[in-house]
Symmetry: C2
Subunit: 217 residues, 2 copies
């Protein structure tokens, strides 16, 4: 590996236009300002919740496949947050926003949501580097906008907690660890393996912006 070069940083730069389209999206700016339409937030949360179990499963596979105890610890802690604090955030939002049981448990999936499910599922069929190639861009993009909006946080819990879950030392430490694991795991890949993780990484970055768009559709 060339000094100063990391694959994670290079891939982020390569997809920087799509990256900033997601991190500066109207959705996150309105969420941070506390001006987001409740119907837009409800639509977004229902779709997001439809793949949060698949995300938790993929993080469980990361615990299983991480080659070191430090890697297993990183993902075990994230899985614990995802299945507790983050899960109750969804439940409380659904109650406060008046989302019905039927909408929560059997929503009509957007194409973008199905695409997330497909990417998460395909990554879980691969090795550790494949899993990281979808988790890293998703969590890193959320950290970038989360940190920006946490400077002057909104007041309603529906907005404030979604910002707080994606900012601060615990979450930024997790994303830094995720990037380290990704760079270490991809160091041993051949050209075909590198091509596969780079492709998945890019597909996730594009999808994050498209998913925010869909909330307004």
């Amino acid at each position: 590996m060339t000094p100063g070069f990391s694959l994670s940083a290079a891939l982020r730069m390569q997809h920087f236009a799509a990256w900033t389209r997601a991190t500066g999206h109207r959705f996150v700016r309105e969420l941070g300002a506390g001006t987001l339409d409740d119907r837009v937030l409800a639509r977004y949360l229902v779709q997001d919740y439809a793949f949060v179990e698949a995300l938790a499963s993929l993080v469980g596979l990361a615990v299983a496949r991480a080659p070191t105890m430090a890697g297993k610890r990183l993902f075990a802690r994230f899985a614990a947050v995802l299945t507790s604090d983050e899960n109750t955030y969804f439940e409380r939002c659904f109650a406060s926003l008046g989302v019905t049981e039927a909408e929560r448990t059997s929503p009509v999936l957007w194409l973008e949501s199905q695409r997330f499910l497909d990417l998460l599922g395909a990554a879980g069929e691969g090795g550790y580097a494949d899993i990281l190639s979808v988790l890293l861009p998703a969590e890193w993009i959320y950290l970038d906008w989360g940190e920006a909006e946490a400077v002057d946080p909104p007041s309603r819990f529906e907005h404030a907690e979604w910002v707080a879950l994606h900012a601060g030392p615990a979450f930024s430490g997790f994303v830094a660890g995720l990037a380290r694991e990704f760079d270490a795991a991809t160091a041993g890949l051949d050209a075909a393996g590198l091509d596969r993780v780079a492709h998945r990484f890019g597909a996730m970055v594009e999808l994050e912006g498209a998913f925010f768009d869909a909330a307004y559709r």
Copy 2:
């Protein structure tokens, strides 16, 4: 399922002689009394540590395969403990007991340790019920002796923390949840599947006692 009957309770009763051989073993009684020979404890911890990564991996697979968010949360929290508090307990014991780096990282495995690795690996190749069939007896036996020894706990951290990690509301809540998940997951199994989980459960119970024996060998 017959009212009042649960497969977890039935399997525990079926293997009760081997169960109490483990839970009342000289090893745990001496650990609880604070009279355990340091060389015996060091031998045990080195071997146990040799499959703690495999155990963490299997718990990660349980997060991935649990069919509900509640099940994923149960195992995510356990994986977090296993990879943090429990992991540092081993590291501090190795330092205090003078276990060398070579003994920690590349021990000569006992046959019993290899058998644990084989059982954990085979369970991970199966479904959720297969995973639970090895986790449940292992953790439940540890809870049974942990609770007994926690009544009058030993003073040295090498003894006290190993007892405390396997007693108290958090750990007993985890084992109760594990039993519920096991009973629910096995309810849908056919005869061959039931036979497989019952066999694995019994093999784990036998192995726990044999593992304690080996520490004195």
